[in-house]
């Protein structure tokens, strides 16, 4: 059954926080040491559970930021009215223990052995996280699938993984659009992702591109719809939406 996910129950496991790496003013990457972790696929997520002293618990799902074969890492952006994300971004330290279970999800997943065709990755804010896993997986497996990333961020300072993305290797094109503020001399795109920008950045449909769109609900609704109108097959536009609930 090599390569087949023969899954039993997903049990909660104690994970040791190996490192907390600040990415931006609001986002951190949390590297976890999870004994017996079965390994993740590119694009999957995991569940985190916190327990207060009185036994109260809160659980949330977070996209995995690291590639298959790398230590498990999640990148979390602080939501000011959130319950779990401010704890993870502000309070958690290396050496702490978190309960996790996963990996979860088999739909928003890129498998270079199965999915041929150019990759179009469209990120809104922290929606970059699972797409970063896909890009790293592409790099690490030596995939020749060309990739384009369109990444919408409020400002340049809020771009997560910027150094890494700016140094992406052959076959990867990264296009930023900054929606709220642009630094002096900014020559890139400004404003929200719309049909015109997608038409400019997206692969032509005749190469059977595979699109992954991740971000807040309204962002994903619009971008996915625009791609369908450009002629993308709905079944080749994979989406992951963050509910704007302040829940994460």
């Amino acid at each position: 059954m090599a390569g087949t996910a023969l899954r039993g129950r997903l049990t909660w496991q104690n994970a040791k926080v190996a490192a907390v790496i600040r990415q931006t003013a609001r986002a951190v990457t949390i590297v976890l040491d999870v004994p017996g972790w079965p390994g993740q696929r590119a694009g999957q997520h995991l569940d985190v559970r916190l327990t207060a002293e009185d036994g109260y618990r809160a659980e949330r799902s977070y996209s995995i930021a690291s590639a298959p074969g790398e230590p498990v890492a999640i990148t979390v952006e602080r939501l000011d009215d959130g319950e779990v994300s401010p704890y993870l971004t502000d309070e958690l330290r290396a050496g702490d223990t978190l309960e996790v279970r996963g990996p979860i999800g088999g739909y928003f997943v890129w498998d270079p052995g199965k999915d041929r065709g150019p990759l179009l990755l469209v990120a809104g804010g922290s929606g970059i996280v699972p797409l970063r896993s896909i890009l790293r997986h592409r790099e690490r497996t030596g995939s020749t699938a060309p990739a384009r990333l369109l990444y919408s961020s409020r400002s340049l300072a809020e771009v997560i993984y910027r150094d890494e993305l700016d140094n992406d290797g052959a076959g990867v094109t990264v296009v930023y659009t900054l929606t709220r503020s642009q630094p002096p001399g900014w020559t890139g795109h400004a404003g929200r992702v719309d049909a015109a920008l997608l038409a400019e950045v997206a692969w032509p449909v005749d190469g059977e591109p595979l699109a992954f769109v991740c971000g807040p609900t309204s962002f994903v609704e619009t971008a996915a719809q625009d791609l369908v109108e450009l002629g993308y097959q709905p079944g080749r536009v994979k989406t992951e939406r963050f509910g704007a609930t302040g829940g994460r």
């Binding site: 997903l10 327990t51 319950e83 309960e99 996915a224 719809q225 994979k238 989406t239 509910g243 609930t245």
Partner: protein, 202 residues
């Protein structure tokens, strides 16, 4: 025994007046978040049908106007998404699944709901009959918006909300349970929020 998360106090304890309405692991939201796989289909009601199929043939089908001519009711329900939000007291305009299924004689034990966009989800027949499931076409007195599953979606509020399939176009009557879209990706076959049946094996 879960380890205590140092410095975590929690901010969303369920208020006493909502106790008993919020399943374990859920928090209450006032928003109506959207979670779907893939782009949102936009099927005009003029092209819409709802079909009950069995063994590859259509047993009964309704177009939009025929469906809307059936007795409808206002359903008030608490809904629970596997991503952990619950929304209390939602109000829907809907036709009972009993009304539709009563028009087809059959002895199926399971159904697989099918939808625009290719989404499917499986349910025991017992969970879509007996006044526990609806075909919903309105929300809060307005037509159901496409991003929330319009023109019509299943409403099965006693199970996690992925079972309340958006953009539903019919049911396949089955003798044996057959996993649907999320169920083949590791989500629970049944999905009872009160037993926290989120993933396979829960």
């Amino acid at each position: 025994m879960s380890p205590v998360s140092r410095g975590f106090h929690g901010r969303r304890r369920v208020p006493a007046q909502q106790a008993g309405r919020v399943p374990p692991g859920q928090y209450v939201t006032e928003d109506f978040p959207v979670l779907s796989a893939g782009p949102t289909p936009h099927t005009p009601t003029g092209n819409w049908t709802f079909s009950i199929r069995q063994g590859g043939s259509v047993r009964r089908s309704w177009d939009w106007l025929q469906m809307r001519a059936l007795p409808a009711e206002t359903v008030t329900a608490d809904i629970h998404c596997v991503t952990r939000w619950s929304k209390l007291g939602t109000e829907w305009q809907a036709v009972s699944m009993d009304t539709l299924l009563d028009q087809v004689e059959h002895d199926a034990r399971y159904v697989l709901a099918f939808c625009d966009g290719g989404y499917t989800t499986n349910l025991p027949l017992a969970d879509v009959t007996g006044g526990r499931a609806w075909l919903a076409f309105g929300f809060d007195g307005q037509p159901l918006p496409a991003e929330h599953g319009g023109p019509a979606r299943l409403l099965v509020p006693h199970l996690y909300f992925w079972k309340s399939a958006k953009w539903v176009r019919g049911l396949d009557l089955l003798d044996a349970d057959q996993p649907g879209f999320w169920e083949t990706y590791g989500y629970h076959r049944y999905g009872d929020p009160w037993r926290e049946q989120r993933y396979a094996g829960d």
